[in-house]
Every structure is written in C-alpha cells, then in structure tokens.
Amino acid sequence: MSTPISETEARYALSSIERHRQQVLAEINVPAWYWLALAGGWVVLGVLADYGPAWAVIAGTVLFGAAHSTVAPRVLSGRRGSTHLSIHGDLVSRRIPFLVIGFLIVMTVATVGFALLLNADGARHPAALAGGVVALLVLSGGPTLMGWVRRRAERQEA
C-alpha cells in the first residue's frame, strides 16, 4: 500500500477527523420540549391529585404514561437532540434511555416522599406542591444529566 503523505500529515488529518466527531458528539441530547412536557405533566398530575376526582387522577396517570411510552423510544436515544442531524448509533451509549428512565423513577419516588412529608406537616396541597418542586428538578436535572452523558461520550471518543 502506498500512501503519499507524511506521518505529520496523517496525524493532522486524524486530529481533524476527531475534532469534527466531537462537534457531532456535542449534539447528543434529548429535545428541550421533552423536559418541558414532562415537567408540565408532573405539575398537572400533582394538581389533579389534590383537587381532582379519583377517576381524573387515574385517567391522567394512564394518559401521561401512554403519551410518554409513545414519545420516549424516539427521543430518549439522545441521537435526535437537534432537528438538524441524527447521530450515528455507534457513537451514542445505548444506556441513555435507561439513565433517563432511572432519573424519572428517582423523581417519582422523590415526589411521593416529598408529598408524604408535606402531608405529615399539615400542608393543604401536598401533591401539587411536591409536583411543582419536582417539576423544577426535572427541568434542571434532565439537561444536567444529558450534559454529563455528552461529556462522557466526548471523553470516551477522545
């Protein structure tokens, strides 16, 4: 095999390839609207739990779960954080959906725990308050989690 370039040129070309790969890895994300919708759903469910009839709470929870399971497979891979590209599967960890679901389970447990604490403390609207606080945690924690995933992917590729 004859290669008409020097070692220096080869190193330069490889570092350029790596730089462009990093530009694509920087796009790993879950769309911002996903966290907004999730936080909104959290607040609505909390308010329903305090003010709505039992059937509305059940219907809301089922609807929320169904909507999430429809949307989640398309957005939780982290490959479609931007509408401008789809990141190649080999570059993105297959564990991202499990990380996000794990995060949501922790948030659910936090909501229930916080609502029970507020209830024990005599708060008038424990579920709505807990839902609101955890919705804020989802809004800040979700993007933070994805930032960590991105940094990890960039370190692994470098």
Partner: protein, 101 residues
Amino acid sequence: MVTPVFDELIHPSTRLSIVAILASTDWADFSFVRDRLAMSDSALSKQFATLEEAGYVEVERAVSEHRRRVRVALTEAGRRAFEGHVAALQAVIAGAERSAV
C-alpha cells in the same frame, strides 16, 4: 477488520472534514455541515457534488414546513471508504513509529 486504503478523493482537508462529520451521523442537514465548517453554500454544494458523483454521499432534497431542506448522508460505499482511509492514516503513523524504534 477494515482494510487500510488511502482515498485520494476523501483526503483533501475540506472533503475530509465533510466526510468526518457525516461518518458520525446517520444524516445531517446541509446547513449543519455548512455552519460547522463555516463554508458558503456554493462551495459546499460543489464538494457534495464531487462526493455524490463518486457514490460516497446521498443528497435528499425535501420540502418540509414550506421550507426546502437538504439532507445529506454517507452511503455504505462512502462509509467503507472513510473507514479504510482512517485505517490508512493510522497505518502511516504506526509505520513511522515502527521505523523510529
């Protein structure tokens, strides 16, 4: 196992950058590649035409939300050529390191 094949078509720095971005994606918008490489539309179109002619990229022109959208993707042949080229670059470095020892 990728066979190292130095690809003269891919190697020039602009085309190498374009193919490196596309190799990390399933597809990318024309505008994404243009913005990352700070190129003009016409210069980038010319490079895509060369790569498309070689069978390395597919250019899909779709109309969405009343806007023209151009998506670009590496073909299988393009991906193989890129992987072979990367392997050839690594082989150059490995060869130089061996002869230095």
